[in-house]
Amino acid sequence: MSEKASRTFSRIFKERFLSDWLAVVGALIVAGLFFVAVFAPFLVQHKPEIINAKDILSPPSAKHWLGTDDLGRDVFARMVYGARISLSVGFVAVGIATAIGLVLGALAGYFGGWMDELIMRFVDIMLTLPTFFLILAVIAFLSPSIYNIMIVIGVTSWMSVARLVRAEFLSLKERDFVNAARAIGVSDLGIIFRHIMPNALAPVLVSATLGVGGAILTESSLSFLGIGVQPPTPSWGNILTQGKDYIEIAWWLSVFPGMAILVTVMGYNLLGEGLRDAIDPRLYR
């Protein structure tokens, strides 16, 4: 133990993370997807929106790696561009959720009292509302656009972050370094954001990583129901929706987007769990 303690946190973290091969697989999947999303135009031979009436519903071939859809568009190209959409929805939604969760959790945990009571009851109420119903109801009033989807998913998924941050704040605010900061006259906001928050970020990072997977799943379910990202913008969910009508004659339209979602979400989940095990020594057995 003493030998371990003498090493730096980042070295221990690196060793633990790299020894967990599932976490490494997760990291590779996530990195690979970034690559695909960023370099999308260089990876495809066909443009995702080009309609070709002569080449509709053709199976995977050397020309069209993953076949073509009912309008003759190249499925591989649409999936590569769809990765951009799915990832941006995932990241922005989680960014919004994390920001709300951080602020509300910090306020509840730091100030306690009626503020804590109010915020935590709000969390309870939000957890009682069936999230998917809530999202659909909001979309019924707004119009289904990619921005609305990002916002709505973000606004309905901050509760676990708030609980997590509150718990961290409750334990951190009694520590000596916080008392010291208070003693030299640092303001409440300064203590919250400069002193406590950085120490509470590790578990938030883990939950955000897992959250990206969840947000991508929600977006694809919404797009699948036709109330998410609207065609002709390709998203994995709406490629699937178009594909389901042709599932008996063109399996590639349904199988590949689903697999892409599965692999992506699994990548984020594996990475998130790996980060958690590497960060949190209590779980390291």
Partner: protein
């Protein structure tokens, strides 16, 4: 314990008010008034239904009065009439569809409970065994699976290619002519896929949670003590440890209800099951606002009461629970 239950019951009222506040806020989410949003979204909307919308939500009144008038109606479960062709009361439309959704969700909960606990317990008692590893893999798949996609593939596999199961609805055309046993089998074959799919996501999470909970419990002193006094391992695990390990699972099971209800939108749409999920989806697509609001509020209330039930039964089985 009685004090706890009374406190818990009192908490329900502010929660209900909170739910109505959030739901009411949704009506006003759209830029401008809901009527404007409606015309923006749907150019075909008749001026008649704009007038209707203004009327039922009292949109010409000040906002606090709008809420109060709406709340008074919600308290007696009056959600107005549907905007669809039949123009029937929203409550009737929801109530007639509720039983099938409840049935599917209760069956799913039962499956989650019956499968995830044994998996979790075996994973914990045989930690890092092959079984544990395979179960962990299954958990990862369950967490990451886009269930709507899986549901679609299974429907094609069992319903079309193998032709073992019917692909939509709850009963066959000839249901009325079947024998009592035949009727039950008819329900069974129709509901098998929807219920399994609906249980799948929570199943993974719950097995995981049971494993964690069990791992914590079997390290405690009283379990070691039970072993030390010579009880067989079976008794130690299933009588002493499992009881305490399952307690937190009750709460988690209750917390998974909103997810199950939300999921019913997807599965009822895929498998054409005439439940509240499908009704809600149709309401959203048709911008049937009274029906959207009514379904949201009723589903949230149902979830609230399911949670209450779980908390109360938790307090009854666990004598350690006190409300300070």
């Amino acid at each position: 314990m009685r004090a706890y239950i009374i406190r818990r019951l009192i908490m329900v009222l502010p929660m209900m008010i909170g739910i109505t506040l959030i739901s009411f806020a949704i009506i006003h989410l759209a830029p401008g008034s809901p009527t404007q949003a409606m015309t923006d979204l749907n150019p075909n909307v008749s001026s008649e239904s704009i007038v209707k919308l203004r009327q039922i939500y009292h949109l010409d009144e000040p906002i606090y009065l709008q809420y109060w008038l709406w709340l008074k109606k919600v308290m007696v479960l009056d959600f107005g009439d549907s905007f669809s062709q039949d123009a029937r009361p929203v409550l009737d439309k929801i109530l007639e569809r509720l039983p099938i959704t409840l049935l599917i969700n209760i069956l799913s909960l039962a499956i989650i409970f019956l499968i995830s606990i044994p998996i979790g317990v075996l994973s914990a008692t045989h930690q890092y065994s092959y079984f544990d590893r395979i179960a962990s893999l299954f958990v990862f798949f369950g967490f990451s699976m886009p269930t709507f996609w899986f549901a679609l593939l299974l429907m094609i596999l069992f319903g079309v290619w193998l032709d073992w199961l019917p692909i939509s609805g709850v009963v066959s055309m000839n249901h009325a002519n079947l024998s009592p046993f035949g009727k039950i089998m008819d329900y069974f074959t129709h509901l098998l896929l929807p219920v399994t799919m609906s249980a799948l996501t929570s199943l993974a999470g719950m097995s995981r949670f049971t494993r964690q909970s069990m791992l914590e419990v079997i390290r405690q002193d009283y379990v070691t003590c039970a072993r030390a006094k010579g009880l067989p391992e079976r008794t130690v695990i299933y009588k002493h440890a499992l009881k305490n390990a399952t307690l937190p699972i009750i709460t988690l099971l209750a917390l998974s209800i909103p997810g199950l209800i939300g999921g019913s939108v997807i599965f009822e749409t895929i498998y054409s099951i005439p439940g509240t999920g499908q009704l809600f989806y149709q309401a959203v697509m048709g911008r049937d606002y009274p029906l959207v609001m009514g379904s949201l509020v009723i589903m949230a209330f149902l979830t609230l009461f399911a949670n209450l039930l779980a908390d109360v039964s938790y307090a009854m089985v666990d004598p350690r629970i006190h409300y300070e």
